[in-house]
Amino acid sequence: MEVPILKQGAFLIATFQAALSDADLNQLRMGLVQQVVKFRSRAVIVDVTAMDVMDSFASRTLREIAHMIRLRGAETVIVGIQPEVAFAMVQLGLTLEGVATALDLEEGLAYLNERFRITK
């Protein structure tokens, strides 16, 4: 399953679908980092609104994406985690520590705009 990656100015936006397999997630991880390098993006928004289950693998992949992108000097924001999914995640002990989160795409963009306006 292809994950669409949109370029929006200095940001990249990746939108996850509901039924991503491990292979899809791995592919996405590589794809995103390559695009960040290619477009010299300052930040990536990963939109997980459509995901109805976030298990340990998906959660770990998101953290790894965020860490790899940070190594490229850019930032990651995870947006759109559903309330029920968030509840299940914390039960599993998956808290995405150290990764920025926002309610939805709009909030994620607002957060990044604010951040980059302040730092520069």
């Binding site: 985690i81 309330p83 968030a86 509840f87 309610l103």
Partner: protein
């Protein structure tokens, strides 16, 4: 030869008096003496001061229907009907404040009143009385059991429903201003309430697009490790939705407990009281707090 004959009549006699046959006989007896036995029962109920929440007329009306259902259950041994009746009865009398011991009490009284009338009827034939009681007792006990269990289940259902309603009322998620929610928690938190509270808060964050949440636990008397972990989870789940949580009103005792049992308070953003919590929330939201001493 003669001996043999004797044995065969004995067997025949037993065959004609199978338990179901005996039950039929005693059901007929109970039907015949319905008015008198029922009256006796009602007298015993008021003597023992049961069902005090109900009037004499009400007791009589209920006694009549219980008596008839009782005899019917003895006759048909159809306990589903009795179960349904017990549920129905409980639904009617629970709101009147009838207690479990009263329901069990009146059914046991009826059992005894009926048993006594059997004693009186068969007092001259001890063997027959024994066989009648052999048939009566297990059935009567099963009836008492069915009614008691039915009552208790109905009571539990009512209690669950009320708890549910109280929980809903006791966890309000308040929006104080745009993007700021306050969740004042009062009373005892059990794991079930903790979960409901979290779910309600997460939904509230989403619908109100909240960025900051103040959870005030001034009204929480005690906190054990399970509840403390729930609180930590609530904070973490809120963050996954992009909201920051500030916990206020943590009493020194609770703080002490949390530290002792090893709850990681470092994950929690705590402020002394609700007022201070709201002020910090407003700073986080980018509002200027009017304070003369604050340099800017």
């Amino acid at each position: 030869m003669a001996k043999r004959d004797n044995t065969s009549t004995d067997i025949e006699l037993k065959r004609t008096e199978e338990p179901s046959e005996l039950l039929r006989e005693l059901v007929a007896h109970l039907r015949q003496n319905r008015t008198q036995l029922r009256e006796e029962w009602v007298v015993r109920i008021s003597e023992t001061r049961l069902l005090t929440a109900m009037t004499k007329e009400e007791i009589f009306a209920e006694a009549t229907s219980v008596y008839d259902s009782y005899v019917e259950a003895l006759e048909t041994e159809a306990f589903e009907a009795l179960q349904a009746y017990a549920r129905n009865l409980s639904e009617r009398i629970i709101p009147r404040g009838v207690e479990t011991h009263e329901v069990v009490g009146i059914v046991l009284l009826l059992r005894d009143v009926l048993a006594r009338s059997l004693f009186a009827k068969y007092q001259t034939d001890f063997k027959k009385l024994n066989r009648i009681l052999d048939a009566y007792e297990p059935a009567a006990n099963r009836i008492a059991n069915t009614v008691a269990v039915g009552f208790v289940q109905e009571r539990e259902r009512v209690i669950r429903q009320q708890q549910e309603a109280i929980r809903e009322l006791s966890t309000p998620v308040l929006q104080v201003r745009e993007r700021l929610l306050i969740l004042p928690i009062i009373g005892v938190i059990d794991p079930q309430r903790a979960r409901q509270l979290t779910e309600q808060l997460l939904r509230g964050i989403r619908t109100n697009r909240a960025k900051v949440v103040v959870i005030d636990i001034t009204g929480v008397a005690a906190m054990d490790v399970t509840v403390a972990n729930h609180l930590v989870q609530t904070v973490e789940a809120s963050r996954l939705l992009g909201a920051t949580v500030i916990v206020t009103g943590l009493s020194p005792e609770i703080a002490q407990t949390l530290v002792t049992i090893g709850v990681d308070l470092g994950k929690m953003n705590t402020v002394g009281d609700l007022q201070g919590g709201i002020e910090q929330a407003e700073r986080l939201l980018g509002y200027k707090v009017a304070s003369i001493t604050e340099p800017n």
